[in-house]
Structures are given as structure tokens and as C-alpha cells.
Symmetry: C2
């Protein structure tokens, strides 16, 4: 078990990511450089480099001469989220079905087992993180460097939004989680069969389910149209 600065830096990055994804660090929270550098046995120099990187990935908002802040989630971002997510994820899953390697498919199956386990006996954070891992893997499968930046940005807020409904409080919500797991299985099958159309279709259904789940929670008014699908599938 080595404990060199490099691994402490990786620890810090992982800790921050998980804390943000699970809402342990709420959106808008200020981060204390001095405290974190003390806790992780790092000087401020590498710490600030980590901040920069997490800023670029969308976890943090950086402002000059002000402390780094966990990126916000306003009502507009939620709207933007469901505008972009079906489109990006549809394309990602399409490409995943096209390009996935056998090894990647095995990893995805493992991740899905972890997700199911978290649904049975895990905490809300476990569910959000294992679900996040599942989707991250589909991103890797797509292997398109131009889609991944947006996709990974989406996953951050997907996990954070998810944290609100991975604590099911009604029968309907529990049912939705089971349905999500079933969809994951179908996604794996579609990828394994190289069935791009099925994968894209499942992507749409999966995000519609997410939207329904959230509407049971935070969304007062429903979204008009599933924007973003048409530009892809329907050549004008």
C-alpha cells in the first residue's frame, strides 16, 4: 500500500468527485484549500492543479481570487439537462453498440451486478455511484472523444439529480428503479448484439424514465418535446 504524493493526489480527486456526485458536497459549497491540503497531506500546489482539472470537467466552478465552489445546479440546468441528455446518450449508446469490445462488455456486466446489489441493499449514494459507473462505461465504449466531454458532464448532474430519487419514497418510485435496472440489462443485450437501433431506442426510454422519476420529485412543469432525438435520427 504505497502512500506517495501521487496516490494522495488521486485519492483527493476521487474523494472530491464522489463527494460532489453524492451531494455530500452540496452544489454551491465553497472548498477550503488549507483544510483539504491538511486532510490529504498535500501542499496547495498539487491541490490547486486538481481543482483546475475538476473545474474543466465540470465538477467545480473556479473564480479568480475566490474559493473554488462546487458547480451549481439551477432550474435552468435541469431543463438544459433533459434537453441534451437524450440526444447525447442516444448517440453514445449507438456508438457503444457499434464499437464495444468483449472486455468492455464484461466490465459493463460487472457494473450492472454492482448496481443491482446497490438497489437491493445499498445506500442512495451507492445506487447513484454504481449507476454512474454503468453509464461511464457506456461512454468509454462509444470511444468518441468529441461526445465524451458533454456526456461526462451530463453524468455528473445525472448522479446528483439521481441522489434525490435513489431514496424511493413511494411504490411508484421503487417500481421505476426496478425498471431502470431492467433497461440496463436490455442495454447490455443490445450492445452485445451490436444492435444500434435498439440501443438508441433504449437510451430514449431510459432518459424518459429518469424524467418521470424526477417529475415525481422536483419538476413542477413537464418538458414539452424530447428535443435532440430528431436531429440525429431524422435526416432533414
Amino acid at each position: 500500500m504505497k502512500d506517495d504524493p501521487k496516490s494522495r493526489k488521486a485519492d483527493l480527486m476521487e474523494h472530491l468527485k464522489v463527494s460532489i456526485l453524492t451531494l455530500r458536497f452540496q452544489p454551491g459549497t465553497d472548498l477550503d484549500e488549507a483544510l483539504l491540503s491538511y486532510e490529504f497531506g498535500l501542499s496547495r500546489t498539487p491541490l490547486r492543479e486538481v481543482f483546475r482539472q475538476l473545474g474543466g470537467e465540470g465538477y467545480l466552478d473556479l473564480r479568480t481570487n475566490r474559493s473554488a465552489r462546487v458547480s451549481e445546479m439551477s432550474h435552468t440546468t435541469l431543463r438544459d439537462f433533459f434537453l441534451a441528455a437524450p440526444m447525447i446518450y442516444g448517440a453514445v449508446l449507438r456508438l457503444a453498440a457499434r464499437n464495444a469490445t468483449l472486455a468492455q462488455i464484461e466490465d459493463l456486466k460487472t457494473a450492472q451486478l454492482a448496481f443491482k446489489s446497490a438497489l437491493r441493499s445499498g445506500s442512495a449514494a451507492d445506487r447513484a455511484l454504481t449507476n454512474n459507473r454503468f453509464h461511464e462505461l457506456t461512454g468509454e465504449m462509444s470511444g468518441n472523444v468529441y461526445l465524451l466531454p458533454s456526456f461526462n458532464r451530463l453524468l455528473i448532474d445525472h448522479a446528483r439529480i439521481g441522489m434525490t430519487f435513489y431514496r424511493p419514497q413511494t411504490a411508484k418510485m421503487t417500481e421505476n428503479l426496478t425498471e431502470a435496472s431492467t433497461q440496463h440489462d436490455a442495454i447490455i443485450a443490445a450492445i452485445e448484439a451490436n444492435d444500434e437501433a435498439a440501443a438508441a431506442q433504449l437510451a430514449e426510454e431510459h432518459w424518459n424514465l429518469s424524467r418521470d422519476q424526477i417529475e415525481l420529485f422536483v419538476m413542477p412543469d413537464a418538458l414539452d418535446v424530447p428535443l435532440g432525438l430528431s436531429p440525429l435520427s431524422k435526416p432533414a
Copy 2:
């Protein structure tokens, strides 16, 4: 004319971006921390922070214990590019038509004037940069934080690919540049009229033109299939 470290840092960032976009720094080039910090009067600490940020934005590839390197453009990335670009840019222009403010439209018109001027009398770099600016503004207009990461990543390579054909060498290529400018005008009109469908349509045409222009150039073994259109739009 202030010359504090903060502005030198901004200068450095701008210089690196422009150098990379215009191929002054070729893809794969190693960056010399010592030299750059000397040239910009900065110590390595802020310099490395800039590197991290540019890494996150897709300008640089960062590898531990190795020098930062201008991000590569392989044949696969070109393929991925034309797979993702029409979709992302279609969505961006759609949203731009929906959300653009009057002030933003004015900025876009100004940018288009600069682009036209560069077409008449500018260098290839001027053309790539003014075109890049035009597209950046459409990204701002869309105002969707989840689309912008991929969109801006696309614009980096769009500028770099463009550098190869903003130096027209045949009548056909000059004609294509004029056509691109005409499309820009049409894009402005569509945005101004809040015509989402027209904007999305123009996005597709604009990227098809880019693809044609590139095929006149860097693709020796002309692409088998007009990749990026059919695979995504034709459900398997």
C-alpha cells in the same frame, strides 16, 4: 496597459490557444515549461495551472512525468469528428435560434464581418480564427452547459482541420469558402427569425460543406462512405 501576472497568465492562455488552433503548434508537439515561463514572465506554478485547464478543454494532452503535448489529431479523430459534429452543431444552432439575445446577434454579425474580411484579405490563420469566433458565439447563444463542452472540443479540431483548407488552391475550394460565408449569413437570419428548423437544417449543410472541402484535401484515399451522416441517421 497593465502587465501584472494575471494578465500575463491570460496572455499565455490566449497565445497557446491561438498557436494550437492555427497549427503554429502542430498536434503532438511537446511544450517546454521552462521556455514558456521565461517567455511570458511567469513561474512554472501558474503555467502548469494553465496547462491543466487547457488539458481539460482539449487543447493539450497531459501525461504524468512527461511534458504536456498538443492534442493529437489521428485519422480516427477525424472520423469521430464528422460523426459528432453535425449532431452537436445541429442542436446548438437549434437552441441558438430559440435563445439568442439581440446583443448576441449583433456580436455574431460583427464576427461574420470579420470572417468576410479575412476571406478577402486575411491569412489562413485569420480565416480559421474568425470562423472559429463565429461558431463560438453560436455556442454561447445556445446557452446549454451540457452541450458546450463537446461543442467547444469540436471547434478546436474544426479550426485545425480548417487551417488545411483556408488556403484555397483550386477554384472549387474558393467557391466553397464563399458558400460557407453565405451559409453564415443564412444562419444569422435563421437565428434572428427564431427559426429553429431552418437553423438545424443549415447546420447540417454547413458541416456537409466542411466535409466536402476536407475531402478535396487531406483525404488521399477518399473516404469510403460519407461517414457521419449515414451511420447515425440510418438505423441498422
